[in-house]
Symmetry: C2
């Protein structure tokens, strides 16, 4: 597998020793770990191994970006049944390497074990380049709320796959292989973001974490959400007009949501969708969201 | 669980954000990941959850020490069946926290998911404090070979458990909860170790990795191996005189083996057990070891 994993620029000691050694020029390292488990986070009949590798990398790399950091390296733990075809494992590794490279990082180490189910544990590391980390806890009343990246496409793709459809192709591809806007994370930090989060469980639910950590209320205005023809097409294919629920409650696109001071000037990719106020919780068009995910309420 | 996990001194942002932020004063970070899977790496009827937590932490922290680094933080991915008793998970976390603290680190983040089998993915991070990493590739002909920590006790404990015995207590405890000599790793680096490895798969097998990476032959002299009364007692309990096979081929004690220049003066804890020569592979008392683990040959 080592041949499939080119060394990255941050990698001083890579695969094949007791541990990897990675540059951390900032003298701090940002670190996160996520698990991806067959049957829970992916299905082999719905996703090719290359897609699973990309997705496993993307969900961790997006967490690094959401702190305002630049990804440097990945470690991968791969538990696999003995009868898994070697080509499946190779394509998974290629996907991990490709998505890491897209984010500027490399796979620097890991572990392989046998298991009854495929389980992929990924640790991503990143560098803050001298900036403060952007946590979930810094949003202030008066701030504006903005997002970079797509919302709802992965959820729309999952709904299509669950209905036995693989078209429209855009949302299905987005479900199989999310495309987080990695460089928007450090960009937001430079722009002075007061808080930031990776949208992995759904916009309303994840902003709930920001509201709680910051001690504020967050307001989303649906009129400000981008009209996405791919979501409308998916909704039409399913005979369902509920595309807004995908935007508000669908996770796994790994868009970034951040808050900025009211006067901050934001580039076009950071689209303002709401604001921060005094209080608690998340409101959509001034109505409180109910339930943990907001899904039922907005479906 | 967060209440069970005190923040460590290296931890700037801990559990509860998109990622942790850990001090890396050296401007490099040492990073490793290992998987621990129920039925393969532990059995719930043989090990208490606290032991499993300690062991999951220890095997990763030992890899950090084996690079000559000081552990700073752990990330833990925990996949668990829905019917796992909450007390089991709590005791696992306590074990992870306790062993981390013993090594000077803390649990700074992670992920939890449901799964059919218990899987624990641990990433350990560490700091080199300005020293070069001690890899597997620096052993030179003429060097002496030394070990710190115990050899063979975990394997003896496993053999006892497999035979339905839980005495003598020492080896059984060593199997359930290995005690790697963490501070011997940075100490070896300061003493000028030319190569180092954590003994996780067995002395002969792991030294084979050093021999290969360094392009040398490694000689073990059994007359120099410490006589361990606990191993003799375990062998007697099993009616088996083969305690040497545990020392040469038993893994999981996470002792450290390192090579040093012939003239290096070593403190007592670093016990010389052999030497490095021109050639390849690992020899025991001048006989070539056969097979991947050396187990069959020396049993």
């Amino acid at each position: 597998m080592k041949a499939l994993l080119p060394a990255g620029t941050a990698q001083l000691v890579g695969i094949g020793d007791d541990a990897a050694v990675i540059r951390a020029p900032d003298a701090r390292v940002v670190a996160t770990m996520d698990l991806l488990i067959e049957g829970r986070h992916f299905r082999r009949d719905w996703s090719a191994p290359h897609d699973v590798g990309c997705k496993a990398a993307a969900r961790n790399l997006a967490d690094i970006a959401a702190m305002g950091a630049v990804p440097t390296a990945l470690l991968v733990g791969f538990a696999t049944p003995g009868d898994l075809p070697a080509a499946w494992a190779r394509d998974l590794v290629r996907g991990l390497a490709q998505e890491s490279a897209r984010a500027g990082a490399s796979v620097a180490g890991g572990d392989v074990s046998s298991a009854d189910t495929i389980m992929i544990a990924v640790t991503a590391l990143g560098d803050l380049a001298g900036r403060d980390p952007v946590t979930r806890g810094g949003a202030r009343p008066g701030d504006k709320l903005a997002v970079a990246g797509r919302l709802g496409r992965s959820a729309a793709g999952l709904a299509l796959l669950e209905a036995g459809l693989d078209r429209p192709a855009g949302p299905v591809a987005a479900h199989r292989r999310p495309q987080p806007p990695y460089d928007a994370g450090p960009q937001a930090a430079v722009l002075g973001a007061t808080s930031m989060i990776d949208i992995s469980d759904g916009l309303v639910q994840d902003l709930g974490h920001v509201a709680e950590a910051s001690g504020v209320r967050i307001d989303i205005e649906t009129a400000l959400l981008a009209d996405d023809s791919q979501l409308r097409a998916a909704a039409a294919a399913l005979g369902d007009a509920g595309w807004l629920s995908w935007v508000l409650a669908g996770g796994e696109d790994h868009a970034l949501a951040a808050t900025f001071a009211a006067g901050a000037e934001l580039p076009e990719r950071w689209s303002v969708i709401g604001s921060v106020g005094v209080g608690s919780g998340v409101r959509v068009d001034r109505r409180s969201s109910r339930g943990r995910s907001g899904w039922d309420h907005f479906r």
